[in-house]
Amino acid sequence: MAPASALLAAALLCAAAVAAAAAGQQQRVLVLADDPAAIKASHSKFLASLKQRGYRGDVKAIGSKGLQLKEWDDWLYDKLVIFGGSKALGGAVDVEQLVEFVDAGHDLLLAVDSGVSEELRALADQLGVDVDASGHAVIDHFSYDAATGAKDRASVLASNYVQSEAVLPGGLKAPVLYRGVGLSIAPGSETAFAALRGSPTAYSGRTDAAQTEAKLAGPAITLVALVQLRNNARVAVAGSVDMLSDAAFAAEATDRNNKNLGRVANEAFCSAISKWAFQERGVLRASNLSHRVVSGAHPGAVKPERYRINDEVEFSVEIRECADGACKPFKASDVQVELVMLDPYVRTTLSHDDAGRFSTQVKVPDSYGVFKWVLDYRRLGYSYIELTETVPIRPFKHNEYERFIVQAYPYYTSIASMMAGFLAVGAFFLWTK
């Protein structure tokens, strides 16, 4: 009976796990475009790659009347791709709801063009990315693609990509063909960074008019911006819809001397940024936060209610890096933990054992109060880790102090002698005369 029921339970658990995995893989994605039929034709490779990566969903017109992201309190989609054109958002969707969508922890890939609608500009602005003025394009008279941009020099070959293993593992072998508008990120932005920048000779201007100065030029032009919000939701903003198209994926780059540079890296690059934006790369997961007393009041106590001052304690946490559907131990030498009571009293670097377990041994400060462990790890391209664990620190109890110290025997003796003297003097004082 017992083995049979155990077997049944195991089978049920397996079934549940498989169902959960299947549900986890089948994320719902909504692709919005001005003209769905045209996008399906021109961007078929990109859309097919999304499907192949396990997303299901559909392509809808951005202005359609019945457009809905949310039904009551349920989000109908997990990810959103917007190929932004000049058409206004339709149905129940507006900028506010799109921001709410991201605030709820969902991810967004926004590709815009220079003629993009004010609404989507406002959306990008809310996410910390500024789209350059309408009618402007990124122009480069030195590093342009001769095949498609000989006339206006607005098909640039960009190879100034972000050096991050989390976003672009292994880097890019060829330049990215880019035809679109320039973006900019506020300097000092804590959430946004550029995945692709302009070359030193690029500038943002009008293709139809001569220009003597440019507001945006060189590496200050962001071509593709990646944003990781404080809730770990991710947004990718590309200044070009064209770079995701089949034509761009298949293009061969030709430099200004008409030398063929081979296949452009658009496919690899777009795949990488969409993977990053949809949490398939650079995701850190922390688990099993633990701390224990090594020596002190209660040696060996795991996750004690409180420490005593000057206890020797060990802090440990497991961090795994998830990329392309598999999680493996994270390896980094710059993860720090702090023991904080308003100010950090202890800040120390954790060491790892190559199996993802980060740990350190510290001496608790010599002051008591409500302390907490704080692990706040923010690195470019990786999701944030923010862990806190409150552990108060108490002083010695009255009976925990050392007693009968050999060194203090003269002091004990002195008090005893004073008492004896007092008794003798008192007896004599009272009973003589």
Partner: protein, 109 residues
């Protein structure tokens, strides 16, 4: 020369006057000197071996200093210029001493 003579004169007159002091007061004087010497000894000891059980040192030292002060004040009360010489004064002294000892034992650790 004359200064040393004067000093000698002072000492001899003090000795002769002190001889006539009641034994009770002499005893109190001896006890207070004893307490003061113990305090000094402890201070020297703490200087030599370090202040590790600092609370113990403070307790021992101030117990002796307190004893000295209280004994001197008892002497001032029962000596000729004082208000009395009976067990009433001693009662107050005993109460103060007991409080001092309780505090000292508590703090010595």
């Amino acid at each position: 020369m004359s200064q040393i003579d004067t000093l000698r004169e002072i000492i001899t007159s003090f000795e002769s006057a002190y001889r006539s002091t009641p034994t009770k007061l002499k005893l109190l004087d001896a006890f207070s000197v004893c307490a003061l010497l113990t305090a000094v000894l402890q201070f020297v000891y703490a200087k030599l071996v370090g202040t590790f059980p600092f609370n113990s040192f403070l307790a021992g030292f101030f117990c002796c200093v307190g004893t000295f002060v209280l004994t001197v004040s008892l002497r001032m009360k029962v000596s000729e210029g004082g208000s009395g010489s009976g067990p009433r004064e001693f009662g107050g002294y005993a109460l103060a001493m007991l409080t001092l000892f309780i505090a000292a034992w508590n703090y010595v650790g």
